[in-house]
Amino acid sequence: MSAPHGAAAPPEAGRQEEPPRRAGRSAVRRLGLSRYTIVIVFAAMVIAFGIDIPSTFLSIGNLSNILGSQAVLFILVMAVLLPTIMGDFVDLSLGSSLGLSAMTLAVVNVQHGTNVILACLAGIGAALVVGLVNVVFVVYFDNDPFIVTLGTMTIVQGVIYIISGNNSVGIVSTNLSDWVFNNDFLSIPLEFYYGLAIFLVVWYVLSFTPVGQKALVIGQSREVARLTGVRVNRQRAWAFILGAGIAGIAGIAYAGTNGTVDPPAGSTLILPAFAAVFLGATQIKPGRINALGALIAVYFLATGTAGLQLLGTQSYYQQIFYGVALVAAVTIPKANRDRIFKKKRSA
C-alpha cells in the first residue's frame, strides 16, 4: 500500500492555493536588483577609487592593465564554466591542463626548436589528452569528478615537472609574446580580445542554443535530462574535452604573457577561476552558473585588486579580497544560495 489515495493527497492539498514564494520583501529584491549586486558594487567601487586616486585609477594604462592582466584567468574561467554548468562541479585538473599546455609549448619550442605555431598546437593537444582521460574516468566509469580530477591534476603536475626538469623554461620566439601581449588594439593587449572571442562563443552556445538549455537541465537533474531523451553523457564528455582545450589556450596566453613558464604555473590560477565562476553564479541569472556573470565577476575582482594595489596595499591582499567577495556574494542573497547549492544530485 504505497499509494493510498486518501493518505497521499493531504500534504499537497494544503499547498493547493498557495502562490509561489515571493522573491523577498526588501526593496532590493522587489526591484530584482539582487541579480545585479556585483554590477552595483562594481560601479560604486570604480567611482570611489576614481574620486580617491583619479590620476592613476582612471588612466588608460590602468584599464589596459586590468583587462590585459586578467585575460589568462578569464580564459581559464570559460574552461571551468563548461563542466561546472553540467553538474560536474569541479574539474580541478583544468589548472594543470593550463600549465601542461604552456610547458609543452615552451619545451617543444625552446628545446626542440619547433615552429611556434606547431608548438602551440602541441600545447593544446596535451591539454585535450587530459580532458579525454577525465572523460574516461568520470563519465565512462562514472566516478566522482572531484576525486578523479584531483588525481589527474596531481599526475599532470608531476608530468609538468618531468618534462621541464623542474626548471622554468623561457620562450625563444618573441612572435608569441607579440601576438599575445605586446601588440595591442585600442591600447589593450590582444589576449584580452582572444578571451572576449572565447567568451562570446561560450555565451552564445550556453544562452542561445538548445545545447545550452540542455546543459542547464543536465546541471539541474541528470535523471530528468536522461528521461527527456538528452544524451547526458555525450554532452558531459564534450564539456570536459572542450574545457580542457580552452584551458590549453589559456596556457598559451600564459606563456605569451610571461615569456617564461614556471612548473607550478596553472595551480595558482585554478582556485581564483572557481571563485569567479561561483561569484558569477550569483549574478544576472541568480542560482545559475552563467558566462556573463563570470565575465563580470572576473573583472570585478581584477578591478578591486588593481585599485587596492594603486592605494599601496600589497598584492597578496588580492586573495583576501577574492575570498571575502565570494563568501559575501553567496551569503547575502540567501535565496540565491539555496538555488545553487541545494540542487538535486540525483544521478
Binding site: 500500500m1 504505497s2 499509494a3 493510498p4 489515495h5 486518501g6 493518505a7 497521499a8 493527497a9 493531504p10 500534504p11 499537497e12 492539498a13 499547498r15 493547493q16 498557495e18 502562490p19 509561489p20 514564494r21 542561445f208 542554443t209 538548445p210 538549455q213 540542455k214 542547464l216 537541465v217 539541474q220 537533474s221 535523471e223 530528468v224 535530462a225 536522461r226 528521461l227 527527456t228 531523451g229 538528452v230 544524451r231 542560482g287 538555488r339 541545494k342 540542487k343 538535486k344 540525483s346
Partner: protein, 543 residues
C-alpha cells in the same frame, strides 16, 4: 493465544476512536484497534482503506482528529505523538523499504540505532570486539544466521527483512529492560511483498521468536495466505472504518476478500460534456502536427516482454485506448512504464508501434523520445521535472530543438507556447517564469503532463500519475489524459496501485500477479472491487 487470555491482561497497545480527515476525504473513521502482548494482529484492506494512515498515526507522522485516544499497557498516552516518541513508549516499525544502510555491515546496521539515540553514550568509545559478540548473541536469540561482517546490500532480500525485524525486536527488548514495562509492539508494514514464497516461512520464524519474547505484532499485508498463517486475529479496514475484527482461523481467504472489498459504491464517471469541453481546449496544443502521416492513430503491441518478474508478457493497446495495468506491489506492473520507455533496460521483448517493431531490450530514452513514446514517472521530483528550472523551461523541454532556426534560439516562441499550455492545462498560478519547485504537487504534475503532451506522443506511459496530487488536480488529470487520448488517438498505459482510479479512467484493465496477466476487465465488469478481488485472489493462488 486465545481470546480469553487477552481479555484478562491490558492490551500492549490500544487505539480508540481514531479519526483522520484529509480535507474532504475521511481516511480514518473512529477506528479501534488493540494488540495484546504476544499477539499477532493482521491488518488488511484495499489500497486507500486507511492502513498507512493508521500506521502513521501510531508512529507520530499524522495527527489524528481530537477524540482519538492511545493506551499503552493500560495507561493513556496523549496524542499526537511527537516524532521519535513512538520508540519511547515501546513501539517499533519495520517498513517495506526496511531502512537498512546497504553499504554498512550487518553488525553496523544492528548497532546503528543505539549509537544514534544513545545520548551521552554516543560519545563513548566503541569496543568493536564486544559489539561483535553482543550482536552475535542477538542474532542467536532469534535463530538468525548471518555473517556480521557482510555488507547488508549483498544479503538476500529475506535476510535483509529478517535483519530489519531483529533490529526492531532488539530495540523493543532493550526498551522493556530499560523501562521495566512488559509491553511492546512491533509493526510490520508489508514485509513479504518482495519475498519468494519459500522465504516467507523463514521470516515467520523470526516473527514467532519475537512473539515468544512477549512482544505484540501488527502485521500489515495484502498477502492473505500469509496473514492467515501468522496472525491470531485479523482486522479489516474499508474506507477508513473497521468492518471486521475476527479470529484469523474463522475466515477463509474468500470470506476475507469479501470483507475487504465489501459493497462500496463505484465512483460516478465524469460527465461526457465536461470532457468534450476539455478536448476542445487542448486541441490546439496537442493535435498532431502537419508532418504526421497517420492521423488515425496507431495501436501498440507489446510482445514477449521478459524482465525480472515478467516472463513473456504480451498485450495490446488500441489507438485512443487507455489501458490500465493493475497489480499489487511486486506484481511487475510498476516496472512496465520504465521498461517500455527504456529508462531501465529490459531483458528482451518487442514493442510494435505504427508498423515498426522496436526491441525493448535495447530501447533508450533518446530512442523513445524520437519514436514519440512519453513517460510520466511516479517520482516527479527526481525523474520528471527540474525543480529549480523555471516552469516554462520544463514545459518546452522536448520541443526546444524545433525553435532553433538559423542560429537563433526563439525563446519568445517557447515562452508563449508554455503560456498557452499553462492556460490550457489550468496550471495555477499561471506564472511561466516562476521556479517549478514553488508550485503545488498537482500543478507540477499538470506541468509534467503538459511537457509530454505538447510533444504529441503516440504512446503515453503513466506511473502513479496522481500520487501526492490533490483531489481537484486529480480530476483535471483524468480529464486531460482522456481527452488527449481521444483527440490524437494516442495509446495510453496507466499503471497505479490506486484501483479506484483505474476503474474510473481506463477503458480496459489488465490485472497482473507475479508478472502474469490474471484477469482482463472491461465495461460493466470493470470496478475497483473487481480489480482488488482479482489481484488478491491471484496472490492467494500463487502461493
Amino acid at each position: 493465544m486465545s481470546v480469553g487470555e487477552q481479555a484478562s491482561a491490558p492490551p500492549a497497545v490500544e487505539l480508540r476512536n481514531i479519526s483522520k480527515d484529509f480535507g474532504s476525504n475521511q481516511a480514518l473513521d473512529r477506528v479501534d484497534l488493540r494488540i495484546g502482548p504476544g499477539e499477532v494482529v493482521g491488518l488488511v484492506g484495499q489500497n486507500g482503506s486507511g492502513k498507512s494512515t493508521l500506521v502513521k498515526v501510531m508512529s507520530g507522522v499524522h495527527e489524528p482528529e481530537p477524540g482519538g485516544r492511545l493506551f499503552v499497557s493500560g495507561e493513556e498516552v496523549p496524542l499526537p505523538l511527537a516524532p521519535g516518541q513512538a520508540s519511547e513508549i515501546g513501539l517499533s516499525f519495520v517498513y517495506q523499504n526496511l531502512a537498512l544502510a546497504g553499504g554498512l555491515t550487518v553488525l553496523e546496521n544492528l548497532t546503528l540505532g543505539q549509537r544514534i539515540t544513545g545520548g551521552a553514550r554516543a560519545w563513548s568509545p566503541i569496543n568493536w570486539l564486544r559489539e561483535h559478540k553482543r550482536a552475535a548473541a542477538v542474532l542467536d536469540r532469534y535463530d538468525v544466521r548471518l555473517d556480521l561482517d557482510q555488507h547488508t546490500g549483498q544479503l538476500a532480500p529475506v535476510d535483509q527483512a529478517r535483519l530489519a525485524i531483529v533490529r526492531a525486536a532488539e530495540d523493543l527488548r532493550r526498551y522493556r529492560t530499560r523501562s521495566g514495562h512488559k509491553h511492546s509492539v512491533l509493526v510490520l508494514d508489508e514485509p513479504t511483498v518482495f519475498l519468494p514464497e519459500e522465504d516467507v516461512e523463514h521470516l515467520f520464524d523470526v516473527i514467532r521468536a519475537v512473539v515468544a519474547e512477549g512482544a505484540g505484532v501488527l502485521f500489515i499485508s495484502h498477502d492473505l495466505v500469509a496473514v492467515r498463517s501468522i496472525t491470531d486475529r485479523v482486522v479489516v479496514l474499508r474506507d477508513g472504518r473497521v468492518v471486521a475484527d475476527v479470529a484469523a482461523g474463522g475466515y477463509d481467504e474468500d470470506a476475507l476478500v469479501a470483507l475487504i472489498v465489501g459493497a462500496s459504491a463505484r465512483s460516478a464517471a465524469s460527465a461526457p460534456a465536461e470532457e468534450a469541453r476539455a478536448a476542445a481546449k487542448l486541441a490546439p496544443v496537442i493535435s498532431p502536427g502537419p508532418e504526421d502521416a497517420t492521423p488515425g492513430g496507431q495501436s501498440v503491441a507489446i510482445e514477449h516482454l521478459v524482465d525480472g518478474r515478467l516472463t513473456g508478457l504480451s498485450f495490446e493497446i488500441g489507438a485512443g485506448e487507455i489501458l490500465g495495468m493493475a497489480g499489487l506491489i511486486g506484481s511487475g506492473a510498476e516496472d512496465l512504464p520504465y521498461l517500455l520507455f527504456g529508462a531501465r533496460q529490459a531483458d528482451r521483448g518487442t514493442l510494435r508501434l505504427g508498423g515498426k517493431a522496436l526491441n525493448i531490450g535495447s530501447l533508450s530514452p533518446q530512442r523513445s523520445v524520437r519514436e514519440r513514446i512519453a513517460l510520466v514517472p511516479a517520482d516527479r521530483h527526481v525523474l520528471g521535472l527540474g525543480e529549480q528550472l523555471e516552469l516554462w523551461e520544463n514545459i518546452v523541454m522536448l520541443v526546444e530543438d524545433e525553435h532553433y532556426r538559423g542560429g537563433v534560439f526563439h525563446r519568445g516562441e517557447l515562452v508563449s507556447l508554455a503560456r498557452e499550455a499553462i492556460d490550457r492545462f489550468e496550471i495555477r498560478p499561471p506564472q511561466a517564469h516562476a521556479v517549478t519547485a514553488t508550485f503545488s504537487g498537482g500543478n507540477q504534475q499538470k506541468a509534467l503532463l503538459a511537457k509530454w503532451l505538447i510533444a504529441r506522443p503516440r504512446l503515453l506511459l503513466l506511473h502513479e500519475p496522481t500520487q501526492g496530487v490533490d483531489v481537484g488536480a486529480r480530476k483535471d488529470i483524468y480529464r486531460f489524459v482522456k481527452s488527449a487520448a481521444a483527440l490524437s488517438q494516442m495509446a495510453v498505459l496507466w499503471v497505479t496501485t490506486d484501483f479506484g482510479e483505474l476503474a474510473e479512467v481506463c477503458d480496459r484493465v489488465i490485472v497482473l500477479s507475479e508478472g502474469r496477466p490474471v484477469a482482463t476487465l472491461t465495461g460493466e465488469g470493470l470496478s475497483d472491487d473487481a480489480i482488488t478481488t482479482a489481484a488478491l485472489r491471484q496472490i492467494r493462488e500463487a502461493r
